[in-house]
């Protein structure tokens, strides 16, 4: 067994730890790994070029950018904020937990590309979350605003990941079935997909509790600051 290609993994870990440019790190890691496996330059270039083309579907999301960019220039994010601010009883927790549940359900139906960071989080969910958070916790500072936006993105990830595996025709289910089939174990995709349900429910509960805890911390901080200000005013 040739263990030297593992050097490529070491390059990745070191590069990310040192916060070097990820694109450069990944490129170097591929070259190191290939050289350590005694792959010729010609073969390496073919491998790089071919796999790059094979994986180009991953950039299809850039097709949404002109739509989102144009609508944002004309005030989509501001409009999304205003719309959410108009709801009297909406809190960050209610809004994000509802989105989490919806995202999971849609993913379970195989509609995982319906929402996403480019399609929904940047234009709609992140500004709406900010509006909902500032309804209950007052004006957000830049730090808090970024943490709310990051939480919105994280919620999208959790909802997508732990819904999609319940969908029958999803790649993961087919990959599992295919792996076992290759090794002589025949399984029904449904029997695999159903075992993803307990984790899906656990993911919903855990993340929903964390969203609620996050909003409580925001509120407590806002209240403490208000009280401190009142005391200072009273002293003056």
């Amino acid at each position: 067994m040739n263990y030297w290609p593992l050097l490529g993994v070491a390059v990745v870990v070191a590069g990310f730890a040192l916060k070097r440019n990820p694109v450069l790190v990944v490129t170097i890691a591929g070259v190191v790994s290939a050289l350590a496996a005694h792959m010729g330059i010609g073969d390496l270039l073919v491998l790089l070029g071919r796999s790059f083309i094979d994986n180009r579907a991953l950039l299809l999301l850039a097709m949404t950018l002109p739509v989102v960019g144009l609508l944002e220039r004309f005030g989509l994010r501001e409009r999304a904020r205003e719309w959410i601010a108009g709801f009297r009883n909406l809190t960050l927790t209610r809004f994000l937990v509802a989105y989490l549940g919806l995202r999971q359900l849609l993913s379970m139906l195989g509609l995982f590309d319906l929402a996403g960071h480019a399609q929904t989080v940047r234009p709609l969910v992140a500004p709406m979350s900010e509006a909902a958070a500032s309804r209950t916790a007052g004006e957000l500072d830049e730090d808090e605003r970024e943490r709310v936006a990051a939480l919105a993105a994280a919620t999208d990830n959790v909802g997508r990941f732990f819904g999609e595996d319940v969908f029958l025709a999803f790649g993961a289910v087919l990959l599992i079935q295919g792996f076992y089939a290759q090794h002589g174990i025949a399984l029904d995709p449904l029997s695999i997909a159903l075992w993803a349900l307990p984790t899906a429910i656990a993911a919903f509960v855990i993340h929903a509790l964390r969203i609620a805890a996050f909003e409580r911390r925001l509120q407590r901080k806002a209240r403490d600051m208000r009280q401190a200000k009142e005391r200072a005013d009273a002293a003056a």
Binding site: V9, P22, F52, L65, A80, E146, A150, L187, L194, A203
Partner: protein, 356 residues
């Protein structure tokens, strides 16, 4: 039949447009970056066909292009760039209100002038009031049209030929939905095509190299597989664990899924390796674990690792660029506690369920 290739050509044309604007503004690194990235979309099928016919040089040239992207990336730093854009947007906001009509007339010039035109635009806030909820329409068209075409597309026929390529119906549907939504957005805002593409290019520049990372990481996955990295890791893990203990094997399997997913950024890549190394020979064949449960929960354990790693760029790094956050790991910071608690729950579920 509408093939995915046509969608790719459109995307390639958009990337060339972004490259041309950057070239005009003398930002040569960004111009080169987007121009090279346009190649797999414009020439991808030709290169693949040439390779199948035995001609290797086009694929090798693409390989050189990949290396060139790696060298150019540090010069178009994504996050710093995002800051610049925010500042420009801020300038636009303070400059007061101009009528939307001016915007229309300015549209052709604006697309060409790029950076400078933002100052002349009306503020987004006042525009938001003017256009109101109509702005939501085109944004919602993307998911709705994708949904309709993905579900109904395979049944659409024109003179006995399928309208959409059935094998890639969802991706074609997404592409078509974006084109339709773009047309709707132009109609609602009455902006010119140049302004629309220019705004798309603004977002693309704001994302910078982060836009490329998912493609590049998938490429790295192929390189790792071809050079035997997965086999080496499975062999190492197999050497270390006490194989007689069912629990030790299960923990090693779960931990291996998480660690390997964290390194590769993809649970799909980790799964065959850990199953071939530990799951199948030790857990299923030796200790009698239920294959369906082990497969399903094993994969989901890997997903917990996906939430933890910058290698899963399209989920953890791309949104940082899209939301223009200062902390590169902001999204990972927001989700790691969920991932770790869920990992513990998952391991417990496996212990309870695989040996029912």
């Amino acid at each position: 039949m509408l093939r995915l290739e046509v969608i790719y050509w459109l995307l390639g044309a958009f990337l060339v447009f972004a490259a041309a604007l950057n070239l005009r503004e003398r930002r040569f690194a960004a111009a080169g970056f987007w121009a090279i990235l346009a190649c797999p979309f414009l020439f991808g099928d030709a290169i693949t066909a040439a390779l199948a016919a035995g001609s290797r040089w086009p694929a090798q040239a693409m390989g050189v292009g990949v290396l060139a992207l790696g060298v150019l990336a540090p010069f178009i730093s994504a996050l710093v760039h995002g800051r610049e854009n925010q500042k420009a947007a801020g300038l636009g906001r303070t400059s007061g209100v101009t009528s939307a009509l001016v915007l229309d007339r300015e549209s052709q010039k604006a697309a060409i002038l790029g950076r400078t035109f933002k100052r002349e635009l009306a503020s987004s806030d006042s525009l938001a009031r003017r256009f109101g909820n109509r702005l939501f329409g085109p944004a919602l068209l993307i998911p709705l049209v994708t949904l309709l075409l993905a579900l109904g597309g395979p049944h659409l026929h024109w003179n006995d030929a399928a309208l959409l390529d059935a094998k890639q119906a969802t991706l074609v549907a997404l592409g078509v939905a974006c084109v339709i939504a773009f047309a709707a957005a132009l109609r609602v805002t009455r902006a010119g095509v140049g302004v629309g593409l220019g705004e798309g290019r603004r977002l693309l520049d704001a994302m910078g190299w982060a836009a490329l990372l998912p493609m590049l990481l998938a490429t790295l996955g192929s390189v790792f597989a071809a050079t035997g990295v997965g086999d080496a890791i499975a062999a190492l893990v197999g050497d270390v664990i006490p194989v007689d203990s069912a629990l030790a094997c299960l923990l090693a399997f779960a931990l291996g899924m998480v660690v390997f997913t964290t390194i590769m950024g993809n649970a799909f890549a980790a799964f065959p390796v850990m199953m071939a190394g530990i799951g199948l020979p030790l857990l299923v064949q030796r200790h009698g674990a239920a294959p369906a449960v082990l497969g399903s929960l094993g994969m989901l354990t890997g997903y917990c690792g996906t939430l933890l790693t910058p290698m899963a760029a399209n989920f953890n790094i791309v949104p940082v660029a899209l939301l223009e956050l200062r902390d590169q790991y902001a999204v990972i910071r927001a989700q790691w506690p969920t991932a770790l608690v869920l990992l513990a729950v998952n391991v417990l579920l496996m212990m309870l369920l695989v040996w029912r």
